[in-house]
Symmetry: C2
Subunit: 446 residues, 2 copies
């Protein structure tokens, strides 16, 4: 039994998982959330509907004993299904046959985690908004939106899991010499859908579908109800942008020419296009993540990233896993624990932010590039021959718990080596056993 | 005669110069400043007392016909005077004999520019604070701090020259997808002084004095009254930091061991050290600099930088020069003009921010390094032989109007070439005529 009192702000995915983990270890947890309970009300408008869960996320869920329960809701996606402009398909596996990423419903996962937090003993307060933060005391003034009363939360540690527009971080931003950046890409996104067809999936369910078109792209992830949620990523302004799509005719014209096979299975396209919001894509960085050792940021509050590597939720869950490990190590010395947490996680948060931005280029552009595909084949073969020595970047990020910062560093090294290889070879089929030996040996030279 | 109405927020150096330039061209200018008139009151506490004016600054002053008047207040600094820990001196010229940077008093220059703005016909309002910005209309609500009345400024263009903590930028930061970053270095600074000695300068007046000590440094710039203003740059925390200097004994001990020759001419050191504030060093980046074409940021409001290249004021003045050029070009199409202004200046603002951060390393560390000095000699010789083809980075930044972004790019190229040269040669004296020919030819290869 643990005597520590923890206040968690935000019952999003990271906040609910961390509350579960803390309550399971015997901490007294109070979880405050300004929205309504997701178990009775639905999803907030404009938030993405499904997410890709990968190794880092599973590791943290495992720690909470939730792997099986979440697995029951999840659909395996074993690779990318590429759609070209004439509707031709090509499948690129993510890794070995056993390796997959999993499409999960944000709402379903949110409901499950909130339920588990409560079962583990956390006290949940929905429709409670944090009004004021007293940083140096680690306290928060909480306003009950239902009966309009205020309470003062006075925990041993105040945890801000309150998302990209975090109240706790906003309070920190007012302290001296606070480092902060918010950086938007030129693209926005809009969610659309492919409904089930004759009671079944309209397209292959065990894949993440991509329609890469250079400056923009469409993707689709499967849902348990046999529909797909599609996301259109498109620039806000300029040629081929949301600004150019002002009528159903404009939208249909774009889909007819660029996504004809998707259009064929999207009967509600134009209605959805004009009903659903267009959302921003932001990278938020800040430091420190704690002031006075009495509080700490985790998840999007500390490091919001763009969604192109499918790592936003996974990075937040990894925060929770590492948070619990450090907590066990430092026992009740919270100030020391949060200092170690931010020192350890900040380089990884910066790395995954960078990786996520890079992967947009890869997804919308390179995945359709012949040279890129041959390079992928060579790297897959290198990994098959030297499973410990050459792990492709995507594999490191998605199918291991290797630190993001380490994955980024090794990935840059591999990139440099493969750049040289691609000057000499056009096709993976040209490479001999000796070539592969030589390539992997280059890792040691650098 | 020009019909345009311009409202300038902030009568700092850039705001006052731009107001002068605009009024000279016949624009109706209203300049609002929350502080008191610098001609009757003095300088705000904690702001640096003197500044280094270089080519870009002079170009803008020239445009306003103010070169001679400012020259009368300025003291030429023809190079760096390096002080080692035993008080030995070595002089490194900045360029040719004619090339110098100029120490000017911030207060003196501020008074002169405010006076010139008024003479040129600008209406000046001191102790008037901007309370509210209406971005889409380009309007500002101004509060008179003396008689507590409000007025609404309704110009054709609202110009935010209101510094690193700009009110106009704060309003922009609340608009969708606004890119913003504030990044502090670990060092702070404190101003100290070397008074005149027997009615004369206590140390060489025509130089910028540097006491480089690796992790920290002291510098001194001459003043017209034969004193020097010194600035101590030191980390806030850790070993050798402001946090470690808690008593006159601590301060004296540091100066005795590290700056003995400075200590000998600083009779008020310990009093000043504990009286004067310690100030932060921040880099602020943002984009766009205008919303709805009705307003625009210039100077520190758009791009606050660290002071290590002496380019903060110069970059602000260059903004003013380019602003006036674009205004002439676009006549009354302010929306187009501010769009061009931000497109043109943003890469240069980012570049000078980067250059300023890099130069801290150079000033506090490399200037005392043998290899670095030999490299400087080689580059000076390259410039002498090929004055158009090889212009050292410091020269491009300080003694030309070459775009900062271009200077940074060429500087990186030169850095790469000199890195290779320094692998083969230890001393400038080893290089032959042919070597110099070969080195400069490398510029074309890249």
């Amino acid at each position: 039994m643990n005597e520590g009192k923890m206040t968690v702000l935000g019952a999003g995915l990271s906040g609910a998982l961390l509350s579960t983990l803390l309550a399971q270890k015997g901490y007294q947890v109070q979880l405050f959330e300004k929205r309504s309970d997701p178990r009775t009300f639905g999803l907030e408008e404009g938030r993405s509907i499904n997410l890709a869960l990968s190794y880092r996320g599973w590791s943290a869920l495992e720690q909470a004993g939730l792997r099986e329960k979440v697995r029951d809701q999840a659909i395996a996606m074993r690779g990318r299904m590429m759609h070209n402009a004439t509707g031709e398909l090509s499948f690129q596996p993510y890794g070995t046959k056993e390796q997959a990423i999993y499409s999960v419903s944000r709402l379903g996962l949110s409901q499950l985690l909130v339920e588990e937090a409560e079962k583990a003993g956390a006290e949940l307060f929905f429709q409670h908004r944090c009004e004021e933060i007293y940083l140096n005391r680690g306290e928060a003034l909480i306003h009950n939106l239902k009966n309009k009363t205020d309470t003062l939360a006075q925990p041993n540690l105040l945890i801000g899991a309150d998302g990209a527009y975090s109240t706790l971080r906003t309070a920190m931003q007012k302290t001296p010499r606070y480092n902060y950046s918010q950086s938007y890409i030129e693209h926005g996104y809009k969610e659309l859908s492919i409904p089930a067809k004759d009671g079944d999936f309209a397209i292959e369910p065990n894949a993440l579908h991509i329609w890469p078109r250079g400056g923009y792209m469409l993707i689709a992830l499967p849902n348990a109800d046999k529909s797909f949620t599609c996301t259109l990523f498109l620039a806000y302004e300029g040629k081929e942008s949301f600004a150019e799509l002002n009528s159903p005719t404009d939208v249909n014209r774009l889909f007819e020419s660029q996504f004809p096979d998707a259009l064929a299975v999207m009967p509600q396209l134009t209605e959805e296009f004009f009903q659903n919001p267009t959302s921003d894509l932001v990278t938020i960085k800040c430091f420190p993540w704690s002031r006075y050792g009495k509080n700490v940021l985790i998840g999007d509050a500390a490091h919001a990233i763009v969604p192109f590597y499918g790592q936003g939720m996974n990075a937040g869950f990894e925060d929770c896993r590492i948070f619990m490990e450090l907590l066990a190590e430092h026992n009740h010395d919270y100030a020391k624990m949060v200092e170690q947490f931010q020192e350890l996680r900040k380089p990884d948060a910066d790395a995954v932010a960078e990786l996520a931005l890079q992967n947009f280029i890869e997804m919308r552009d390179l995945v359709a590039d012949r040279e890129f595909l041959e390079r992928k084949k060579m790297e897959a073969e290198l990994h098959r021959r030297f499973p410990e020595r050459w792990i492709p970047l995507y594999t490191m990020v998605t199918f291991t718990n290797i630190r993001y910062s380490e994955a980024l560093r090794i990935g840059q090294l591999q990139d440099c080596i493969m750049g040289k290889v691609m000057k000499h070879y056009n096709y993976a089929s040209e490479l001999t056993d000796q070539d592969y030996e030589r390539i992997v040996a280059l890792l040691d030279d650098e």
